[in-house]
């Protein structure tokens, strides 16, 4: 009942003209960002972050959330029409979506993708509305040891479920945690590895690092590949799927919604994992698994639904625990913090307008997206005609403006540039960069919780295994580690240890 009242209150906020306008701007920009290869949801959010400074916190976060799930929608368009995934979660949609396009069913694939995304998005929003308050209330019982344990679990899951090899992900996570220790020590005021640079006393800024790793390095990588691919243009009259396609899509959409939502709760590349998991599940459940990869509607409906549901699910840890589950929610967390709002268990009671306004605006945004995506698909595809050599200087200058406008510090622009170079090298060495960004933001919180816990227990490390919450988390972590080594020893090493790219 409380959730329904909260949702009602949220709708009153979401339906103000200003919030509707910025929600529209967010989903429109997000769709464009999702369509353009090379600019993911994080880049899009970071670019428009300065715009939110002039807005109220709730309006700003509504716009940023709009970019986030708009990009998820947009990513599927290029996968289906060009076999170019606009963002990583849409990779699996290429398999059957593009094949459907080649068979003249592009319109149906786009419709099912948009419809599935809409259903998945709405299921996850309902999930947030009912689960986030429960989790937030539960999280009020968390002390420093519980917070440390849950963050350690988040990082462990990130290593295990990440898109790269486990050892590399762990290495990058640790590097991120280490970089998170740079700056003034929160407990003693001691300057750590600042080398006399004042900007570093606040720590290595998350935004410049994220923009460098995701924006600048993406530009550097994309500059190497400017192949122009053929675009299959769908006709409006072919947009509606036939009865058989609709019938076959319901199951994958239903399963994808729930699977995506729950995978979305996990940290890391949840939206990517969810789309692959849904594809595998649909293939296993199908009576005609051999049809997958040849233009099977289930191969589009399931993954597209799942990745949008995961995007919604990812908002739960952010809003109720104050722990971002991925780089894009982390930028949203920064945006809230710039406005003086700390996401976490108290957000719902202290800032109900933000909490419920954002959730309700996601419904509105989903409706806007389905209206935008279907008739305007031809228009969005035209963005791909802009040559990258014309686009990249604009992306770089927008990145610089975005970073400078946050704190007005030139040093942060240098951090962005260095991070861009480092990100480029890391990508060339097949390291996944997302965990570094996430660890950089979780690191200081984790250290604080770690030290507070030890002070509470007078140095007794058993505090991390005492109490039902810590103990349960420790058991789960133990099982994950055991499962990984079991798989390594008895089933074999994962194939992704070394990706053959030559």
């Amino acid at each position: 009942m409380e959730s329904l009242v909260g949702l009602g209150h949220g709708f009153l906020i979401a339906f103000t003209p200003e919030n509707l306008y910025y929600c529209f701007v967010g989903v429109l920009f997000g769709t464009v960002v999702g369509v353009l290869p090379g600019l993911g949801p994080l880049g899009g959010i970071a670019i428009l972050l300065p715009v939110t400074f002039k807005l109220s916190p709730v309006t700003g976060i509504i716009m940023l959330a709009g970019i986030y799930y708009g990009a998820m929608y947009g990513g599927s368009t290029t996968s289906i029409l060009m076999r170019i995934p606009g963002e990583a979660a849409s990779v699996v949609t290429c398999l059957d979506g593009y094949e459907m396009s080649r068979k003249g069913r592009a319109g149906a694939a786009l419709f099912i993708s948009a419809w599935g995304s809409f259903i998945g998005g709405n299921v996850s929003i309902l999930g947030i509305a009912f689960m986030a308050p429960l989790l937030a209330r539960f999280a009020l019982r968390f002390g420093p040891p519980e917070m440390f344990a849950i963050m350690a679990l988040a990082l462990l899951l990130l290593s295990y479920l990440g898109s790269g090899p486990v050892l590399k992900t762990v290495g990058i996570l640790l590097l991120g945690l280490f970089l998170g220790t740079v700056g003034m020590d929160a407990m003693t005021g001691y300057m750590r590895m600042t080398f006399g640079i004042m900007t570093l006393s606040d720590g290595i800024g998350f935004i410049p690092v994220a923009m460098g790793l995701f924006g600048v390095s993406e530009v550097l990588v994309s500059l190497q590949d400017e192949e122009v691919k053929k675009v299959i243009k769908p006709k409006l009259k072919e947009l509606l799927p036939n009865r058989e396609e609709m019938r076959r899509s319901w199951g994958p959409i239903f399963r994808g919604s729930f699977m995506g939502f729950f995978i979305g709760l996990l940290p890391g590349a949840a939206h990517i994992v969810s789309s692959f998991a849904s594809y595998v599940m649909e293939k296993k459940l199908s009576k005609r698994p051999q049809d997958f990869g040849t233009g099977c509607i289930e191969g589009v409906a399931g993954p597209e639904t799942a990745n949008n549901a995961a995007a919604g699910g990812a908002m739960i840890p952010l809003l109720s625990l104050g722990i971002p589950s991925g780089p894009a929610p982390a930028v949203m967390m920064i945006a809230l913090m710039i406005h003086g709002i700390s996401p976490g268990p108290l957000l719902m009671t202290q800032e109900p307008d933000v909490f419920w306004g954002v959730i309700s605006s996601m419904y509105v945004g989903n409706v806007m997206l389905i209206i935008l995506n279907l008739p305007l698909v031809g228009l969005f595809v035209n963005f791909l005609r802009i040559p990258f050599r014309l686009l990249f200087p604009c992306i770089l200058i927008i990145c610089m403006i975005g970073i400078y406008s946050v704190n007005g510090r030139i040093a942060e622009l240098w951090i962005m540039m260095i991070s861009g170079g480092v990100g480029f090298i890391m990508r060339r060495f097949n390291f996944d960069i997302a965990p570094l960004v996430l660890a950089l933001i979780i690191g200081p919180m984790m250290e604080l919780a770690f030290r507070q816990s030890l002070m509470l227990s007078a140095g007794d490390l058993r505090i991390f295994f005492q109490g039902p919450i810590c103990l349960s988390i420790a058991v789960v972590m133990g099982l994950i580690v055991f499962g990984y080594f079991f798989r390594l020893m008895f089933i074999g090493k994962p194939a992704d240890v070394c990706r053959e790219e030559t």
């Binding site: 770089l396 060339r428 030890l454």
Partner: protein, 149 residues
């Protein structure tokens, strides 16, 4: 040279340097951990992980990415981009946002994208003006005015 080996090698060096800095900070004790405790713990763990990675990468027979590909023509473009970005950052406050945006775009379009100089300057000037109108006038983002201020 294998990229995996090189990647873990760099990580190991970074971790060793990090550990060097960390141990120079007050460590404290378990009851009252000092500012050096957490970084030391993390850097040590990173050394172990990168060392394991380095050792395991020796077993991999095939190179993930050849050096010739990594250091080939692509790095030239990367260097060009980095130089233009570095120059833009260096003069960002001195020259001001409008001028530096126009210059940055002109140089990037001309030197990296390969447009003719007249086209590059035209695009740069137009881009700079659009950015100024959008960010400064419309969104009122505080950006340096530099010599035009």
């Amino acid at each position: 040279m294998k990229t995996d080996r090189m990647g873990y090698g760099i990580l190991l060096v970074v971790a060793a340097v990090g550990l060097g800095f960390s141990i120079s900070m007050p460590f404290g004790d378990l009851q009252q951990p000092g500012p050096g405790a957490f970084p030391t713990f993390i850097a040590s763990f990173l050394i172990i992980v990168s060392a394991i990675g380095l050792l395991s990468s020796w077993k991999i027979k095939n190179a993930c990415l050849g050096w010739h590909q990594f250091w080939g023509g692509e790095l030239k473009v990367v260097f060009k981009v980095m130089i233009v970005v570095a120059v833009a950052i260096y003069f960002f406050e001195a020259l001001g946002f409008l001028l530096i945006t126009a210059l940055f775009l002109s140089i990037a379009f001309g030197w990296i994208s390969g447009f003719r100089p007249v086209v590059a300057i035209g695009l740069g000037a137009a881009g700079g003006l659009c950015a100024w109108l959008f960010f400064v006038k419309l969104l009122q983002v505080p950006l340096p005015e530099g010599i035009l201020g």
